[in-house]
C-alpha cells in the first residue's frame, strides 16, 4: 500500500518536472521514493519476481551496451525498459522502476536493464539480485569522485561474493581486473580475437597492466586498447580465460570499444536464448544512444557526437575518428560534477598521436584554456625559432559554446562530417544547442 502511494507521488513528480522542463526528471521521483521508503527497490523487485533484471557496470560503454541489449530483446518481441542514461545511481534505478510500474506496483515488462555507476554497484546488489550482471571494464575516471580503480575492484569483489547461483555473470576477459573477479555463480566471458583491432603500443593512460593476482608485470600477446587485450602473467600463470565469446556482429557503431559493447550484448542475449539470426537482424537496425556516435544533420552537414569522458574513452574516440578520416573536430571540456572537477586527465590522453591529421581543431567548454594549452603542447615544434612556439594555427579557441558550434559547422565542407568530442555535461549542452531542446 505504501509503495502504491510512493508510485503515485513519483509519477506526479515526474510529470510535473517534465511538463515544466525542470530537469532531473530521471532521478527526482526515485529520490523521493527512497526517502519515503528506503526499501522501495527491494520490495518492488520482490513483488515482480517474473521480471528479469540485467545490471550493467563498467567505466565506459554502459549506455551503449544497454541500448544494444534492449534493441535485441525488443526485436524478438520482449517488453523491455531501461533506466535513463546517466541516471545510474539508486535514485535513477528507483525512478525507472516506479515510472514503469502501474499503481499496484506491478511492472508489466519482461526485462529491466539497469546501467549502474561503478561506485553504486555494491549498493545496488544489496537491493537487487539480478539475473545477469555484465561487467565491461574499469578505467581511471573522475578520481575525485570514484577514487582509484583498485578500490572499486575490491568493493565489487566483496559484493559479488554474496550472490547466489541465480545470477549469471558476463565478464570482459580482456580486462585483467574484471577477469580476476570470481564468485560461485556461472560466468561467461567475452573478449576480442581479431588482429585487425590490434594496437602496436600501450597508450599512456593504462591502469591495470600488473597481475591482479601477484602484482607482476603482465605480458600482452595482443593489446586492443588501454589495458584490454590478450594478457598473461609469466610469474604466477594467471592469464586471459580460454573459453571466450569473440565474434562481434556488425552494426553502425565505429571504434574498437564498441566491439566490446557488441560482444557483451550479443553474448548476454545468446545466454538468454535469442537466436543468432534474430540478434543479427536486430543489430542491423540499431540506432546509437544520444551522444554516443549519434549523428545529427544540420545545414546539410553531419555532426557526430562522441562522448569522451576520460582518458580511455577520449583516446578511443580519437582513434575512431582518425579511422573515419576526420578533418574538423571540436573538443569541449567541462569540469562540473558529472564530468569530474579535476581536468588533469586530459594530459593522459594521447593527443600527440592524432592531432596532425586534423585540419581544424576547435576547443570550447568551461575549461577551454586548459584544453587549448593541452593542444598547444601536443603540437609538434615546427622549428626552434621562438615565434613558432605559438600554438598550432589549426587551433581555434571559443569561450562560448554556441559560437564554437556555429563556426565549426560553418567551416565544415558540405560533404564532410564535424566530429564533436565533449565531456558528459558538455555533451548535453552540445545536443541542446544542436537539437534545440534539453534532455535531462
Amino acid at each position: 500500500m505504501l509503495n502504491s502511494i510512493v508510485v503515485i507521488i513519483g509519477k506526479i513528480v515526474s510529470s510535473i518536472s517534465s511538463s515544466l522542463k525542470l530537469g532531473h526528471g530521471s532521478t527526482w521521483p526515485g529520490h523521493i521514493a527512497l526517502s519515503i521508503n528506503k526499501n522501495f527497490i527491494k520490495e518492488i523487485v520482490k513483488q515482480n519476481s517474473s521480471l528479469k533484471i540485467i545490471l550493467i557496470a563498467g567505466t565506459n560503454g554502459k549506455t551503449t551496451t544497454g541500448k544494444l541489449i534492449q534493441t535485441i530483446l525488443e526485436h524478438s518481441g520482449k517488453k523491455v525498459f531501461q533506466n535513463e542514461a546517466g541516471a545510474n545511481l539508486l535514485n535513477g534505478i528507483a525512478s525507472s522502476m516506479l515510472l514503469h510500474s502501474n499503481l499496484l506496483c506491478k511492472i508489466n515488462y519482461d526485462y529491466g536493464i539497469f546501467e549502474v555507476d561503478e561506485a553504486a554497484l555494491p549498493l545496488a546488489l544489496k537491493e537487487i539480485t539480478p539475473d545477469y550482471i555484465i561487467l565491461l571494464n574499469l578505467f581511471r575516471d573522475q578520481l575525485d569522485r570514484y577514487g582509484e580503480v583498485n578500490t572499486i575492484v575490491k568493493n565489487w569483489q566483496i559484493a559479488l561474493k554474496k550472490l547466489s547461483s541465480k545470477t549469471t555473470l558476463v565478464l570482459n576477459s580482456d580486462d585483467p581486473q574484471i577477469a580476476h573477479l570470481s564468485n560461485v555463480t556461472p560466468i561467461f566471458y567475452f573478449g576480442l580475437n581479431d588482429k585487425k583491432f590490434e594496437q602496436a603500443k600501450h597508450q599512456h593512460a593504462v591502469d591495470s597492466t600488473y597481475c591482479p593476482n601477484c602484482k607482476s608485470k603482465l605480458y600482452y600477446h595482443t593489446i586492443y586498447y588501454s589495458h584490454l587485450g590478450d594478457w598473461e602473467c609469466k610469474n604466477c600463470g594467471f592469464k586471459r580465460p580460454k573459453d571466450i565469446f569473440s565474434t562481434p556482429l556488425s552494426t553502425k557503431l565505429d571504434g574498437v570499444y564498441n566491439q566490446y559493447n557488441i560482444l557483451a550484448a550479443t553474448l548476454t542475449t545468446k545466454i538468454i536464448g535469442i537466436s543468432q539470426d534474430s540478434i543479427k537482424s536486430a543489430l542491423g537496425s540499431f540506432v546509437p544512444a544520444f551522444g554516443r556516435q549519434e549523428a545529427i544533420a544540420i545545414n546539410g552537414r553531419i555532426v557526430k557526437i562522441l562522448l569522451s569522458k576520460n582518458p580511455t574513452s577520449f583516446n578511443e574516440s580519437l582513434r575512431a575518428i582518425k579511422n573515419l578520416n576526420a578533418k574538423n573536430v571540436l573538443f569541449v571540456l567541462n569540469d562540473r560534477i558529472p564530468d569530474g572537477r579535476d581536468v588533469s586527465w586530459i594530459w593522459d590522453v594521447d593527443f600527440e598521436d592524432y592531432i596532425d591529421t586534423f585540419n581544424i581543431i576547435s576547443v570550447s567548454g568551461d575549461r577551454v584554456y586548459d584544453m587549448a594549452v593541452r593542444i598547444k603542447y601536443a603540437s609538434k615544434t615546427q622549428n626552434s625559432k621562438l615565434k613558432s612556439q605559438n600554438y598550432n594555427s589549426k587551433l581555434k579557441i571559443y569561450r562560448n559554446l554556441n559560437d564554437a558550434i556555429t563556426n565549426s559547422v560553418k567551416s565544415t565542407p558540405g560533404d564532410k562530417t564535424l566530429y564533436i568530442l565533449p565531456t558528459y555535461s558538455a555533451m548535453l549542452e552540445v545536443r541542446k544547442i544542436l537539437i534545440g531542446k534539453k534532455i535531462l
Binding site: 578520481l143 572537477r341 579535476d342 581536468v343 588533469s344 593522459d348 575549461r367 621562438l386 612556439q389 605559438n390
Partner: protein, 248 residues
Amino acid sequence: MNYKLTIGWLYPELMSTYGDRGNIISLAKRCEWRNIEAEVRRLELGFKIEDLKKCDILFMGGAQDKQQSIVSHDFSTQKIKTLKRMIEDGIPGLYICGAYQFLGKYYKEADGTIIKGLGILDLYTESRGKNFKRLIGNIIIETRIKKLVGFENHGGRTYLGKNIKPLGTIVKGFGNNGDDKTEGAMYKNSFGSYLHGPILPKNPHFADLLIQLSLKKKYKQPFSLAKLEDTLEWKAHEAIANRLGIGL
C-alpha cells in the same frame, strides 16, 4: 653553445595517475622552444642507478596504493642512497602527491600501521581513515615565485619537520593538512606538492624555475631564460584564480 637537459621521469608507468605526464611535457616543450635539447629518460621498474645519476631534473608523480607498493619494492637501499645524494647535492626535482609523501619519513595509516618512506625529506604523512574527508578541490597558493594554481585530491595529511620549508601558503584550498595553511615543501632545489592540474602547464613560471635551476646546476653559471609567449598558459592559470575568486 648547445645546452642539453636530461629529464628523469621516475616510474612513468606506475607513478602516474592524475595527468602528471603534463609536467614532463611542459618541461620538455619549454626547453625545446628555447633551443635547449631535452631528453626524457624513463626510469621504469628495475631502472639502473647509472641512468638516474645522468639526470639533470627529476620528476615523480602520484600513484594508486597498489602501484606505490610495487615501487617501494623496487627502491633498493642503493637507489635511495643515490636519490638522497642527488637531492642533497641540489639536483632540481618535482615530486607530486604520492611521490611527495613517499620522500618523507613515513605514512601512517588510520589503524596505526606505519609504511616507511624513503626518509629523504623531513616530513611525515598521516591518514585519518574513512571518517575524514579527502581534501579535494581547486587550490591556489602563494609562493616566493608568485601564485601557483592546481587541483588537490589527497586523503593523507602531511606535516613538515623543522628542517624543511613549505612550498607556499594557502590562499584557497587545503594544502598539506588542511590545518596549518602550508602547502608542499622545498628542500634545496627539490619541491614536493599536492598540486595536480597538472601543476607545470598552468604555472609556466614554476616550470621555468626548474629549468633555470637545472641549467645553473649543470653548467655552473647563472642563466636567464628566453621569454616565451605564454598567453594561453596564463589564461588557464587565471581561470582557476577567477573560479576561486582570487585576483592575480
